[in-house]
Symmetry: C2
Subunit: 431 residues, 2 copies
């Protein structure tokens, strides 16, 4: 079954030559537009099978990455993110199968309108084109990002982290071989195997063939991409999420939501980082919140008023910086506000436009919060942890957008498309 | 009626202080979200009236610009673009009134879905936030861009060209006064009155308060903005538009469309710049095309095969660069292709993803062209000149997007919005 054994070297060889890569990507874009849904699904299912069938090849490559990691003293947590095993490969393959089962967004007619001159204007969903994805150490992103971009009709160019380079080369090689076996151009996926930083910088400037750049990873990766890129970027992932406990909150519900949002998984972007409490319920709520958060091992950094109420030496002073920080850890900032307006102003000032929640029984307070908070996802009496492509029912997720343009919040297949107009007529000219 | 006489100096004073400007813009964003459709429309109608009522002030300022222009030897065409008179001011006011009459896109519910856990997810159209617009010498853009951004709920920050600075200050000053008279914060419009290039550069980096940047003007302005900006940019306007005459074209229709697309107005982005002809009809079509184009004073630059057919010394050789050029002038490039596939490849290689047209009676050729040409607007048997917000029935236009992200083609009010999710529940937490 294996198509061309030296494909890893092919990939390595081609990587730094962006002109060549660009030609191939643009050619692949033209080819891919001719692949129908069935052909794309067939290829994806083959890719899933091939990942499992070639698990040994992937694991051998992964072992190289792990060895290099251990040699340079990588921390246990990072090594674990890097590590693949048969179970993780099976999960990766299953993810690809799930994407195959999702509806194809390409070609969906969004709108049709007839103009007075008789021309018919049709607004149709189409792929974005060539999507560049920059990511860090998790090698499963290679298969995951490819499958989402491919299913939505896009050509994928991946730049993974140097830590996972051997695993990424192996996985991308298997995908490329499998595409070719399915009669689809292997250049629908290209991997930049060069780990040099200058190469990454150059990549971010290749507007000539990359249509959109999506960084997936740490806040610093995203910041660098936004600073350096000349290609339109979709910013993802940074979440300084707030839970606001209003004067009319059901305090027991507020506690459940707070604990869920902060502690169910604190290393993710939709976890809460900040608690804002209306002064009218601060005395009643904060001691309870303190007890529950402390029980869950969460460190509290509070403003003076909240500190006074919690009366415990373990509560630290919150600085201005705390209010603006995405901890991704068992830490939370707390402050008291005198009313809803102050809560909205505080949140809109410090948040990252990701996810924020109000807990209240007051319908009009809730509606004002839902309208005025400037986030991708604004919640009323629901934990912020639901900002997620799967929880929203998209069936997949490439990331959570925190920018204003194009897509906001969870991005699934539809968010990897754009639209164009097709106009049909019989000789209309403009007068 | 005049609210605060020294407003021009206020604006001038505040301009280079981006921190102060940012504070005001963010404050204005919060204020504007509370203005309902009626309040916005009332303010817009007052602005229209105020522009007419204060025509003298505008004309006096405009005369300063014209005087400076003449002194530095500005060409007649540019002076004409810069010049305002009572009629042009009336047209500007009428434009503002038309925007007031359009439906308000803010708050439109795009989708609602109930998740299995009982939470209701609502996708709602919302303003982009603070829109920065960089433009060149036409002072009417000041009122035009403001009215579109304002109606869609956005705060506007304008950076006009130095040539029109006095006119822009006068117009922006009148708008700000009128907003204030209508109980709306004047900071919904801020004008950068500083004409220093470094200031423009700094402006393009202020991600802290500008959400989106839209350059309106020449290709070089747009290129600079894309290169320098750290803010997401919506690219507009560059149009290397093609007319492709297929083997099965109605040649008389093809000629009408070609002449309309090339000559009805050659200085605009949706005018044709390139003619592509199927070899099977080249002998029949090109001599006719030559005669008609030449009659309209259009210079032809053709490949060798087309030149041979046209047999006239006035036909020049087309270089590679010609195929990639947006002339915005009475010039057209011509080439012959051997089939539809070559036509599609040629157009996708050289176009600017703006507007391209196929003329054919062959339905399947048309559908393939509509699908495979990677432009915002793809036409079958219709002139490219219809790529326009008014012709599409949007009632307004801020520009024609040529990028893939967010919006493509004509951008009206809806394209100046984004969306957010409002999620309502009764205590849902994630397990």
């Amino acid at each position: 079954m294996r198509f061309s054994f030296p494909s890893i070297y092919d990939i390595l060889f081609s990587m730094t030559d962006f002109t060549e890569m660009g030609k191939k990507a643009i050619q692949a874009k033209g080819d891919l537009i001719q692949a129908d849904t069935e052909a794309k699904n067939r290829a994806l299912l083959s890719v899933a099978d091939a990942l499992v069938a070639n698990a040994e090849e992937i694991l051998a490559a992964n072992e190289e990455d792990l060895k290099r990691g251990r040699e340079k003293g990588m921390k246990e947590g990072l090594l674990d993110r890097l590590k693949l095993d048969e179970k993780r490969i099976a999960a990766m393959a299953e993810g690809v199968r799930e994407v195959a089962a999702l509806p194809d967004p390409d070609g969906e007619v969004l709108e049709t309108f007839l103009r007075p001159n008789g021309m018919e204007v049709q607004k149709v969903r189409v792929p974005l084109g060539v999507i560049g994805i920059i990511y860090e150490s998790r090698p499963n992103v290679t298969a995951d990002a490819f499958s989402l971009c491919f299913k939505s009709g896009n050509v994928t160019v991946l730049k993974g982290g140097s830590d996972a380079i051997s695993s990424n080369i192996a996985i991308a090689g298997i995908i490329r071989r499998t595409l070719e076996e399915n009669g689809i151009t292997p250049d629908a996926l290209q991997l930049i195997a060069d780990t040099d930083r200058e190469v990454t910088k150059e990549f971010m400037r290749r507007r000539d063939f990359i249509d959109v750049l999506i960084p997936r990873g740490s806040a610093s990766l995203i910041r660098t991409t936004v600073e350096e890129s000349r290609i339109p970027v979709i910013e993802t992932g940074t979440g300084n999420c707030h839970v606001y406990v209003d004067r009319d909150a059901d305090l027991s519900m507020a506690l459940d939501i707070l604990i869920n949002a902060k502690t169910q998984r604190n290393s993710v972007c939709n976890a809460a980082e900040s608690l804002v409490v209306h002064e009218a319920v601060a005395e009643a709520f904060l001691p309870e919140a303190f007890r529950a958060l402390t029980e869950h091992g969460v460190e509290i950094r509070a403003d003076a008023a909240a500190k006074r109420i919690m009366k415990d030496a373990r509560v630290k002073d919150a600085t201005e910086e705390d209010f603006a920080t995405e901890y991704l850890d068992a830490v939370i900032s707390v402050n008291i506000v005198k009313d809803l307006a102050e809560a909205i102003a505080h949140i809109n000032r410090y948040h990252t436009k990701h996810s924020d929640c109000i807990v209240t029984k007051d319908q009009s307070a809730a509606e004002r919060f839902l309208r005025e908070i400037d986030s991708a996802c604004v919640y009323h009496n629901v934990s912020t942890r639901f900002t997620d492509g799967f929880e929203f029912g998209f069936g997949a997720e490439i990331g959570i957008s925190t920018q204003m343009l194009h897509a906001r919040g969870p991005m699934g297949l539809r968010e990897l498309t754009t639209y164009k107009y097709r106009i049909r007529g019989n000789g209309q000219i403009r007068h």
